[in-house]
Amino acid sequence: MSHAEQASEVSEQHGLTVRQYLMIGAALTVITIIELAVSYSDLGSAMVPILLALSAVKFVVVVAYFMHLRFDSALFTRMFVGSFLLALAILVALVSLFWADSHTLPLK
């Protein structure tokens, strides 16, 4: 990380146009509708992965475009993605620890 002395205006000018933002909003709505359709349909074991994938897409789109991560300093991306992955790893670890050890019988 060198001594990049930048003026603040630089980061004020990135981003998309209003039209593009609206398009993204519409896309997000469409994905939500698809999600709903999936949850009401009878897709069996494929359903959970599909739903997770769709919400991941929404997640990424909001973070990348609405939150400007795509245009902003890579530092932000590193910080946020790093924390997010840590949270995800701990979540997965915890959930699997409990599922592996799920003999939680109420005592008589």
């Binding site: 990380m1 001594h3 701990i90 620890l97 592996a100 050890d101 939680t104 019988l105 109420p106 005592l107």
Partner: protein
């Protein structure tokens, strides 16, 4: 003095009020230091009471209830109110100086974090007037649930830790931003003093480790007061969840406690060996590696909970691997001694002792990392020995090294070296007398957290020995306190750089002016002052330009009192919580509109 409608007038910059309203990182550092040291004494007195009770079999000094409160509060006081804030005292005072900045990124936030810490500390400590928490510092459910501990003690624990967590979170966010963004020209990341690196790392750890604890505390609060059953197996909950959430925080926490000390040692050793730190990049990356691995080991505190074989294998492996980066640090410090021209100042003695005592604690850590062996160690005095070798032999020794080292910079005065050495030797001997025998007691089957034990168990001798040792530590601390007050009565004679050190804080006066540096220094090498010295580079002349510093503010302490009210309300009457919320909202408003220049 411009006053925005509905906000408070600007405070004046003199007297007691100037301390209450200060946003100067150095003053905040001093406040942290004094408060935390007071808590250290208090936690130590609690420890002495514990030791007095345990000195002989079937002791009768303290009853069971008080004893449980004492070791719980001893640990909470030492960890959350003494050692962590002492680390904060150093990084508050030093970080901006070491990176050549005039202040931190968010000075008022910094002040707020101190006042919230004070509030949380007072809430937690005041529990002694009502019911002190008594379920141990990791406060396992169901014992800490409403059914088995119905008094207010556990609520004090929950509210206290939530408040303290808020404070740490604010400090950590602030210092992350400060270190990443406010370095002097030429001070690249790989030229940062190791202490600053460690501050950055613990800031990351705090920001990321506190939330799981917060969630656990919230669940406990709800279980106790709002009828939920997160930890009640009959209703589908599980007490083990608390243990996981606590230790997901708890293990990174122990590195939060040790890394500042490691940073201090990495600053002190090179100065008094008169040579650069051996293998700087390795020391830095080892710190990063420790922090990173620290996330994947938490279940080593739960080896005896009936976890499956495979999870225990995984967590044991991860835990053992931490010995490798830690070893890198130890050997690089030893490498720093090699070929040096060593001056045995008190600060240096503490740092050298740190290497040895911390290694003892680290090695017993690796022993617990083996699950079958841990079956014998867990919840025995062997673990108590481990924690005190790393926490006292590590963190506290490192902190004392730092106090002797930076005292001239902070106050302009020297601590007496004679008394200092007396302090060191008493403390070093006392701590080994106190904590080494605990290994034997652990092996002899003595469980921890027992207020009494039988004559026939043969634990009497070493317990008495340890108790005597703890009094020796006590005397050593009294020596230090005397040394402190004596020095404070001396005139300010310390030059800018009395130890011939290499980092930027020694380039300015002792104590530093409010704006830290007349001219923001330019950094040309990893050990900037040595580089300048060897290359005949003179310090730049002050330009005499007016340096504008952020003005003091009432809002941090006001907002902190709102936060404290919030907590007190949960403990007493919800109306106070509402009042607290009002105070907070009012302070945010005033804070936002208060001009910062």
């Amino acid at each position: 003095m411009a006053t925005v409608a509905g906000t408070l007038a600007r405070p004046a910059n003199v007297g007691v009020w100037s301390w209450i309203t200060t946003v100067d990182h150095k003053r905040i550092g001093v406040l942290y230091g004094i408060t935390a040291f007071t808590f250290l004494l208090w936690g130590g007195i609690q420890a002495l009471l514990i030791r007095t009770q345990l000195a002989v079999p079937n002791g009768t000094v303290i009853d069971a209830e008080r004893f449980n409160q004492l070791f719980t509060m001893h640990a909470l006081t030492m960890i959350f109110l003494a050692v962590m804030p002492l680390g904060a005292a150093f990084f508050n005072f030093l970080t901006p100086l070491m990176i050549g900045a005039r202040d931190v990124a968010f000075p008022r936030l910094n002040a707020l974090s101190y006042w919230v810490y004070l509030g949380g500390g007072l809430i937690l400590t005041s529990s002694f007037f009502w019911d002190a928490p008594s379920a141990g510092w990791f406060n396992y459910v169901p014992l800490s649930g409403q059914t088995y501990t119905s008094d207010l003690g556990i609520d004090f624990y929950v509210v206290g830790l939530l408040t303290l967590g808020t404070s740490s979170l604010m400090a950590a966010l602030n210092f992350t931003v400060t270190i990443i963004n406010m370095r002097a020209p030429g001070l690249t990341m790989m030229r940062l003093p190791v202490f600053v690196w460690m501050t950055l790392i613990i800031s990351f750890l705090l920001v990321l480790a506190l939330p799981p604890l917060t969630v656990g505390l919230i669940q406990l609060l709800f279980d106790r007061n709002f009828d939920t059953h997160f930890f009640v197996p009959e209703a589908g909950g599980d007490p083990i969840l608390w243990q996981h959430l606590f230790w997901v925080f708890g293990h990174p926490e122990v590195y939060i406690l040790i890394l500042p000390a490691m940073g201090i040692v990495s600053e002190v050793l090179p100065v008094f060996a008169r040579k650069p730190l051996f293998g700087y990049p390795a020391v830095v990356f080892a710190g990063v590696a420790i922090a990173f691995l620290g996330w994947a080991v938490w279940s080593h505190h739960m080896f005896t909970t009936g976890m499956g074989t495979v999870p225990r294998t995984v967590f044991a492996t991860n835990t053992m691997i931490i010995a490798v980066p830690t070893g890198i640090k130890i050997f690089n410090w030893i490498g720093t001694l090699y070929g040096g021209s060593i001056r045995f100042t008190t600060a240096m003695l503490f740092s050298i002792a740190f290497i040895v005592t911390f290694t003892i604690g680290g090695i017993s850590g690796v022993m617990h990392a083996s699950p079958p062996i841990d079956g014998q160690h867990q919840d025995s005095y062997f673990v108590v020995a481990h924690i005190h070798y790393v926490l006292f032999g590590g963190a506290v020794m490192g902190i004392f090294s730092g106090i002797y080292f930076w005292f001239p910079k902070m106050t302009g005065r020297f601590l007496s070296e004679g008394l200092g050495k007396l302090h060191f030797w008493l403390m070093f001997i006392g701590m080994n007398m106190t904590f080494f025998p605990m290994h034997f007691l652990g092996l002899a089957g003595m469980p921890r957290r027992i207020y009494t034990y039988d004559q026939g168990l043969d634990w009497g001798f070493w317990n008495m020995f340890a108790t005597i040792g703890s009094y020796v530590i006590g005397i050593s601390i009294i020596v230090f306190v005397i040394n402190f007050f004596r020095s404070m009565r001396q005139p300010k004679t310390a030059p800018n750089n009395p130890w011939d050190a290499a980092t930027l804080e020694w380039a300015t006066t002792s104590p530093p002016p409010e704006h830290d540096f007349d001219v923001v220094p330019t950094v040309r090498a990893r050990d900037p002052l040595w580089y300048d010295r060897d290359h005949g580079i003179e310090a730049p002349e002050p330009t005499g330009e007016h340096i504008h510093m952020p003005p003091p503010s009432y809002y941090p302490i006001l907002m902190a009192s709102g936060v404290a009210l919030l907590g007190i309300g949960v403990l007493s009457h919800l109306a106070l919580t509402a009042l607290g919320a009002v105070v907070i909202i009012y302070s945010i408003w005033g804070w936002a509109l208060e001009p910062t220049d």
